[in-house]
Amino acid sequence: MNDSLKVKTSDIERLVKASQAGDRGAFDEIIRLYQRRAMQIAVRMLGNANEAAEAVQSGFVKAYLNINKLREPKRFEAWFFRIVTNTAISQRRAAKRRAEKIKIAESYDGKKALSPVEDRIGEELKEAIQRAILKLSKKQAKAIALFGIEDLPREKVAEIMGCSAEAVKWHVFKARQKLRVLLKEYLE
């Protein structure tokens, strides 16, 4: 992937205006520029790359269909990440159900014990992280996911979440507190 994490505001403004004028190529360029960061956010919110991919793809489709409603092209980033986080939130219930199903299936699956120990521990940890993330409240999940993204200042996180920077800090604090308890055995 050759997409840079930092996107110039002037570039994005130009691309958004072109997309609004019906230039599909410009929107493809937007996808290329934002797909990695959107996936990072969604994975941090859903704990699983496949679930995240579904949310990000839906997010891009929603953005594409509604791009003409965006009045200030320079604010695309916050607008788009809001779409992605909201889509991920609405997908959390289904993700929770699937995670529980996997957990039940694994408890009956004898083959699991035959896999290499390191892999098994890795998978186990991943599933534990996913279950823990899915237990956070919507705001906590959004805050902890956005907070850890490189080049995303706290003010921008607040703008995406539609709350104050202090509220973001509070949600991050509560999320960490909850995760500390839920992932206690893996943190020691």
Partner: protein, 164 residues
């Protein structure tokens, strides 16, 4: 003594804070590593192809969504107009009401015709006229009377008409 206690307290708080900081860092690191590991093995080409396909589908449905509403609006207009005309005709037409034949208790044949608020019943008696071999019948007309008719002079007229 108080100074020593104060220093110990400060040291405890500092340790707790640094412990919490460490714990926060550990959680952040865990989330970071989990995301990074999952995305390292992620198939970006397949992801890009799926988005492209979904955008094409969305674009197609958007285009057809723009083209079809006018057609749907015209069709819906026609259907609504036809429905209004149909209802108006039905209301205005003085078509006969449903006639229902019914076998009631004590009657061989009971014809019931309801029109407005009147009911007509024809009752065949079981007795037979020996000379003409015709059977006698009763016709009963039941009708709701208005309050005025119920108490006024027209009541007798209505009753008389019913008897006839």
């Amino acid at each position: 003594m108080a100074c020593v206690q104060g220093k110990a307290k400060t040291k405890g708080i500092t340790e707790r804070v640094s412990g919490m900081k460490k714990s926060n860092e550990d959680i952040d690191l865990l989330l970071e590593r989990n995301a990074a590991e999952q995305l390292d093995r992620f198939d970006w080409d397949e992801f890009g192809a799926t988005i492209s396909r979904r955008l094409n589908q969305a674009q197609q449905s958007k285009t057809s969504g723009i083209r079809f509403p006018t057609i749907f609006k015209i069709a819906a207009g026609f259907i609504a107009a036809a429905a209004i005309v149909f209802i108006a005709v039905m209301v205005k037409t003085d078509a006969p009401m449903t006639v229902r034949f019914d076998n009631g208790p004590g009657a061989v044949v009971k014809l019931v015709e309801s029109k407005g608020s009147a009911t007509v019943e024809i009752l065949d008696s079981k007795g037979q006229d020996n000379q003409s071999s015709n059977r006698s019948s009763w016709i009963i007309i039941r009708t709701r009377e208005s309050k005025v008719a119920d108490n006024g002079q027209s009541r007798d007229e209505a009753d008389f008409a019913c008897l006839m």
